[in-house]
Amino acid sequence: MIEILQRLGQAALRFFARLGRGHLFLGYVLLGLPSLIPRFSLVVVQMWSVGVRSLLIIVVSGTFVGMVLGLQGYNTLVRFGAEESLGVVVALALLRELGPVISALLFAGRAGSALTAEIGLMKATEQLDGMEMMAVDPLKRVVAPRFLAGVFSTPLLAALFSAVGVLGGFFVGVGLLGVDEGAFWSQMQATVDLYEDIVNGVLKSLVFGVVVSWIAVFEGFDAAPTSEGVGSATTRTVVHSSLAVLGLDFILTALMFHE
C-alpha cells in the first residue's frame, strides 16, 4: 500500500517537475525573442522548413475536409429545403472550428514532430553543447527562431486551410450538387462576421500555434540524448500537442462563442 502511494507520489513529483521545467524553458525562450529582431533571417529560414513544407498536407486536407462538409451539409440542408445556406455552413464550420483545429493537429504531426526530432538529434550529437561551448546560447540561436516560426506559421496555415476548404465545399455544393452559386456566396457574405468568426478563428490558431510549438521545442530540448530518447520525445510531441489542442479548443470555444 505504502509502495503504491510512494510510486504515485514520485510520478506526480516527476510530472510537476517537468511542468515547471517546461514553463521556465518557455520563459527563457520568450526572453530570447528580442535577440531575433536584428537577425530575422533566422526566423524566415525556419518558417520555410516548418511552414512552407507543411503547405501540401494543409492544402490537400483542407480541400477534402471542405468537400466532405459540402456533401454532408447538403444532405442535411436539402431535407429542410435550405440548401442555399450551404455556403454559411461550410464557412462557419471551417473558420470557427475545423480550420484552426485540424490545421493545428496536422501541424503538430508534420512540423512539430520534425522540430522535436531535429532539436533532439542536435542534442544527442552534442551540437547544442558545442554551440554553448562556442559561447552561443542554443536557446536563442536554435530554439527561439523555431518557436517563433511555428507561432507565425499556424495562423497562416489555418487561414489557408479554411480558404481551400471553402473552395472544396463550393466545388461539391455548386459544381456537383447544383446549389445556386449566387446564394452560396451571398449568404456566406451576409452571415460570416469579421470579429465573431474570422478574428476568433485566427486567435484560436495563434494559441494553438504557441502551444504546439512550445511543446515541440521543449520535448526536443528535454529529450534524453539517445536515439530512443529522441524517438519517444517525438511521439510525446504529437500526443501531447494533439490533446492540448483539443482541450484548449473546448475552453476557447466556451469563452469566445456564447450568446
Binding site: G130, E132, M134
Partner: protein, 277 residues
Amino acid sequence: MAGNTRSGDDSGPLVSIEGVHFARGGKMIFAGIDIEIARGQITAIMGPSGTGKTTLLQLIAGQLRPDQGAIHVDGLEVHRLSRGRLFDLRKRIGVLFQSGALFTDLTVFDNVAFPLREHTRLPERFIRDLVLMKLEAVGLRGARDLMPQQLSGGMKRRVALARAIALDPMMILYDEPFTGQDPITMGVLVQLIRRLNDALGLTSVVVSHDVQETLAIADQAYVLSGGKVVGHGTPESLGASDSAWVTQFLRGLPDGPVPFNYPAADYLDELMMAPTK
C-alpha cells in the same frame, strides 16, 4: 593573433584545478584532484573509461559546477563568473568534441564560419579568407562545400578543429581525439595537435586513453583513477614510474590495481551454495 590570447598573469599556469570534488547521480567522480596546466604546453589527461575525463573538461569550461574546490582559467574562477563573463571566457577556449559536433545542416565552410559570424561583425569577404585559412591549416580547404554527412570520422574531427581555432583561442580542449580512428588518421591528428599548439602559441589539453599517441605529443601527463590523480609528470618520468597503477594503465595489463573481476562473493562458496530464490 596574440592580442587576445593572453590577458592574465603570464607566469602562472593557464588552468589550475584545486581540490575539486564532484559527484553525479550519487556516484563520486572526483574526490579531490589537483591539476595544473602550463601555458604553451600540451597536457595529457589519461585514465580508463569512466574516470570522468570528459567531466573534467566540462568542469574546466564551466558547463558543470564542482561540489568543492576551485578551477581557475587564466586567473578567472570559472564558477564565480556571470553567464556573460563565462561566455566571454569560452570565446577564448576551443573545444573539440569526441563526435566533432558539427552542425549537420551547415556545409563545412559554414560550420567553420559559424563562430566568426556569431561573434564578429566582419564583412563576408574577410570571413571567407579566414575560413579558408583555418581549413588550409587542417588540410581540408578543398572540402569546404561538402556537408558533414559526406565526411569520414577523421575529416569531421579536422573540420571541428578548424572551427575550434576560428576565433584564435588561447586554449583547446580535446575530448578523446583519437578514439575510433584508423592509424593514418591518428597520425594526422597527432601531428596536427602538436603543430597547431606550437604554431599558434596555444595551450592544449588532451583527454584520452590512447596511451602511445597521447604520450608521443604530451609535454606533461596526468593519470586519473578512482577520482584521484594517481600519477603525473613528463611522459618519460611516468614511464619510469613505480606506481602499480600507472604501470598497469600505461602497459595495458589485464589485472592489477584495477582488477579483472567485478567484485563478487567467493567463487567456490557461490558454486557450492544451494540455489536460492
